[in-house]
Structure formats: C-alpha cells, structure tokens
Symmetry: D2
Subunit: 187 residues, 4 copies
C-alpha cells in the first residue's frame, strides 16, 4: 500500500479515525464500491409510543441545494452501524437530544442512492450509497450543530404532505413517508 497507490500513509487501528481518508482518496473509492451510510428519521412519540412529529434539518445538500433533510452520514472503516448512527445523531442534533438508537439492528428500509436518478428514485450525484434507515425517537432538546442551519419538529401529517416533500431532495421525502408507514402513521 504505497503512496503510488494514491493513498497517503496512515496507521489503521481499531480506533475509528474520522480524518484518515482524505477528500481525494474518498473520491476515488466512491467510484469503485458502494458506500455504507446510515439514515435516521428523528421522531417525537406520545405517551403510548405513537409518532406525533418528525424532526427535519435545514442544510446544504450534496446536490448543492439548501433543503430539509433527515440525519444521514457515512459509516467509517472499523465503526459499527450503531456507533455511526449515534455519532451522526450527536453531530446533527446536539448533545442534549437524547436520541434512542433502536435495539434491533434491522433498518426499517434500505435506501440505495445512485448518481443515475432513474435507477432507484434515490439520488446522490457523488456516489452509490447503500443506506440503512432507522426511526429514532428523540426525547431531549435538539440544537442543530455544524452544517445544519435549523432544526424543526413537523407534525406527522404535515411531514407526509406535498409541501414538505417539495423542500426535500434526493428522495429523502420518500424515506420520511416510509418511516411514517413503518410507524403506522402514514395518513
């Protein structure tokens, strides 16, 4: 594994190193294999567990739009899916969100983003990503951090509607509807 291979030298330990894969390397790898992603639809539940609200971020997306978005991000080498979920939830919703990563590892759906829009209906201009989508109850206060501009709670009826859909890109509006359906709360 030399520099000629296009990758800088680095040590690979069991610890996850967010920084080890630089942008150039990432771009190369993205053209070769599907990337593993996780997706979280933050939800508020009532006292018997029914979804009442969906949490949406406002952020700059991969397709250069400013859009409503769910929590989404890459799983790193050596990182478990649960750790990745928790990391992205912490990063996007802040430290006092008290997001509950689900006990079951099976996602409610699998989303396949492709550069070709026609392939699956989910679109990412940068890559082919296979994303595991989870419904994540959030009990605390959300304070969008880093790249997100805003975070809002929207009622489940509104979240499934066309006005909200129009503000989302890449097919994430469909993920929200599938999440609501999984929770039995799709109108």
């Amino acid at each position: 594994m030399s520099e000629a291979a296009g990758f800088g030298k680095h040590e690979l330990g069991t610890a996850v190193d967010e920084a080890w894969l630089d942008e150039h390397e990432l771009e190369i790898v993205r053209g070769r294999v599907p990337m593993v992603y996780v997706e979280a639809v933050p939800v508020r539940l009532d006292e018997v567990g029914r979804v009442t609200h969906v949490g949406l971020l406002l952020r700059a997306m991969a397709d250069a739009t400013i859009s409503r978005a769910i929590v989404s991000g890459r799983v790193l080498w050596g990182e478990t899916v649960r750790e990745a979920l928790q990391r992205h939830l912490d990063k996007d919703l802040g430290p006092s969100a008290f997001a509950r990563v689900p006990a079951a590892p099976a996602p409610f759906t699998v989303v396949e983003y492709m550069p070709d829009r026609a392939r699956t209906g989910y679109h990412d201009p940068r890559q082919h990503a296979v994303s595991l989508a989870y419904l994540v109850p959030v009990e605390g206060e959300c304070h969008p951090s880093q790249e997100a501009l805003e975070f809002v709670w929207i009622s489940s009826e509104e979240a499934a509607g066309s006005a909200v859909s129009a503000e989302m890109t890449g097919g994430q509006d469909r993920i929200v509807r599938l999440a609501l359906a999984h929770a039995g709360q799709l109108p």
Copy 2:
C-alpha cells in the same frame, strides 16, 4: 343480548372497563374465539442501543407454577394494542419504570398459545391466545406490583441460557430468545 345469554348487563362506552367481563363470561368466550394478548420483553440498552439485560418477573402462572415470566396480558374490548401494552407494563413494572412502547406497531413475533401443547410449542391451559410480542426498552426503576413476586435484570447471555429457560413455562423462554435474536444479541 339478554341475561339468558349468560352475560350481565353493562354499558359499552369508548372507555375501557376492566371489570365488565366477569370470570364466568370470560371462560365462555375463551372457548369460542382466540383471545388477543400482548407480550413485552423488558430490556436494558447500553449507550448505543445494544441489549445488555432482560427483565424477568417471578409470578404465579396460568399453569399453576411459580415461574420467571415476561410482561403479558389481554387486550380489552375498545383498547388499542399500545394502550394494553402500556397498561400491563405499568401494572407489572410499577409507575417509575419508564418503559418505551415501540413506535412501530408490528411485533417482532406473534406467539400462539394453545391448550394443546403440541400445536405450536406455546402453551396456555385456559385458552387459545394470539399474542403480539414487543421488545420494550426500560429506562427507570422497576418495582413489581400486584401479582408479581420479584423482578430481576439478567444479562442477555444468561437470559438465553438453559438455566433461565428451565425456570420459565408456556414457551416464554423461547420468546426471550426470539427477542434477543431480533436485537442481534442471541449468542
């Protein structure tokens, strides 16, 4: 619907009336149709959502044994599955358990108790019951109330083992293993 029909007079409102179906009536109905039950496997999760412990009650069972048991009970006429789950969790684990009824209505498995042991492997001498089984994360303190004698947290490895299985009846040990498998934590 007269008294000759074997049922006492009563008003059926939208409110759930725990008392309306007396023991005699219940016995009759139990011989005619399958009863709807809910089952909850109480679990403790670590900081990334992995099941670490399973909560078990010690109680007098329908088969006249004193056994380890999960939370289980009937869904009443007019009561939703979520309400029944919450009611039985409150009753069995006490008011400060903070049990989290899951957002998704689909159970992780469906358990079919029958008087005939050979039919499904799940046994209830009193009735044919179709029970929806849920994994329920519990965050607070559990204080067994009413009929339960004791409540203990057992590690997920132990809960899947034969020593604990031997203390459970009716097939509930198998429900615990299916719950752990659903959570990816079956050894």
Copy 3:
C-alpha cells in the same frame, strides 16, 4: 357451559370447525373481546422481488358498500395464523393462486378496526378486530370465489393513488399504502 349460556352444544377438538360458532353467538362474543383477524395484500413481484402490482377484490363489505378490498378474515379457535391466512387466500383467490404465506410470523403492520371511526382510523361497524397484515406474493392465476365479485391486478403506483383509495372502505386503502411502503415501493 350450558345452553342457557347462549351457546349451542358442541365438541371442541383440535380440528378447526368453521361452523361451530353460530351468528348469534358470534354477535355476543364480538361485543365482549377483540376478534383476531388476518389481512393479506396480494402482490405480483418482478424477477428480483420488487412489487409491481397489487391484487384487489371487489366485494360486499361489512359497512354495506361494494368496495375494492384486500383479503381479510377471522382466525378461528384452534386455528393458527398461518392456517387462517392460507384458508382466506384460498377462499378469496381460488385454488390456483399459489399464494406464498410469508416465512416470518411478524406482520408488516397491525390494524385495529373499531366501531368508533375516530379511534384508529380503521373502521368496522360490527366489532373491534385486531388484524395482522401480511404482504403475500401470488404467482398463479386468481379466480375470485364465493363473495368476491371480481379480482384485478393494479400497478403499485395506481394502488397508492387517490382514485383507488376512493373505492376502498374501512381504512383498507391505508393498509395498501403501508404494504407498498414496507416493500419500498410507495411513490
């Protein structure tokens, strides 16, 4: 269990006896406990398992309308959920449907029909029914039998649309959308 109890004499064996509960008895029981139902959304899959079409019956419904409907029916005393599913599929789709009852017992959703429309959004004027809903791939030819007037295959896009919804009652249009969402095929 005498005749005075309002129920005729009969032997309860392990065999399921479709006829044992007469209409009068059924009406009484229906007012006392939730009934167990199964629901099947028949689907056609393409060569890689994607849902392409949803199968709908045209039939007289409990609310006295003639509506599009999915396969639905009661689980009898002593009958397993799988047996009930197969029996209702055979009855509604005919003997050459080759419906594939799923390997996993967990339904994709649980539907709670109540006489009170406002309670869950699912409505049955006759009873409180807790129905386990399954997605059932069908590979053969469907010939509606008994009470169904017609059976048609509708594309998954159409099945999720408002024109088809308007022809369904009791909330079954929502079950179809939840089924499509479960299959990742909700638009």
Copy 4:
C-alpha cells in the same frame, strides 16, 4: 482519476461490470471503507410457510477453512441490493433453484464482519463488511456451482444445533439462528 491512483482505466456505466475492480484495487479499497455485502439464508417452507429446512453450502472460506456456509457476496458499484442477492443466489445455487428474493428491502438483521474478532462476533480477516441478511425461500433444485463443493438441506432443528454450528465459521452459524428466530422456528 489516473493510473497513478492505483486503479486501471475503465468506463463506469450503469451496467455492472464484475471485472472492473481488480484484486489489487479491491485490497486497497477494503482497507479504507466498509464493503457492502448481502447474505441469504436459503430455506424450504411447508404449505403454510413454516421453515422446515435450511440450505447450506460447503465451501472454501475467507479464513482458509472448508466450512458450511450460507450464500454471501459483495454488492458491486451500480448494482442494487436485489440484483446482488439474485446474482449470488444464481451463482451459488444454480439456475433451477427458483430462489424468491423477498419483497421487502429491509433485511432481518445486519451483520458486521470485522478483521478484529472481538468487535462484533462476526469475523472476516480481509475486511470490514456490512452485510444485509435475508431469509430466501427456495422452491426448485439446488446445484452448487463455481466455488461451492456441496449443497445440503438440513432440518431447522439441526441447523440451530451445535453440531452444525461447529462446521461454520465467521459467525455464520449465528446468522442461521437469527434467521430461524425471525421465522419463529428457533427451538
């Protein structure tokens, strides 16, 4: 993206090109990002959909053992999860297996293989792989092809037992047990 980047020249189209990523390139990418895999547990069902048998291959594994194994393989760039599942099923079970890729995209569990055995309990010395595991009913005849030496149907009781587990590596015996639990057939 030059040759200096360590990758040969090639066209990336929508068509999946099994050959485009050579062994050297694959080795490099494997050290940088988790690989996306699919896993299929082939099963025989009885007439009401209960799992009666599990299908196991005998093959040379990544850890250099000859072991019993389930169907498993990589998802290629541009290939959908369904296409990958179908491709690996065809390759491993032969053209007349009539394997039924499930309608729902959600796997029954997510398996995380790591070079470090202690991390998740699933082990692959070559890579970090995130594998989506599906239960796949098989209706035809299986003829192991390519790298598999043998294919056998084993009863679900046996498949969950310790004798079969001892012949499997990497944690695949646990995947079989989780699959049986998902189907309600774990003893």
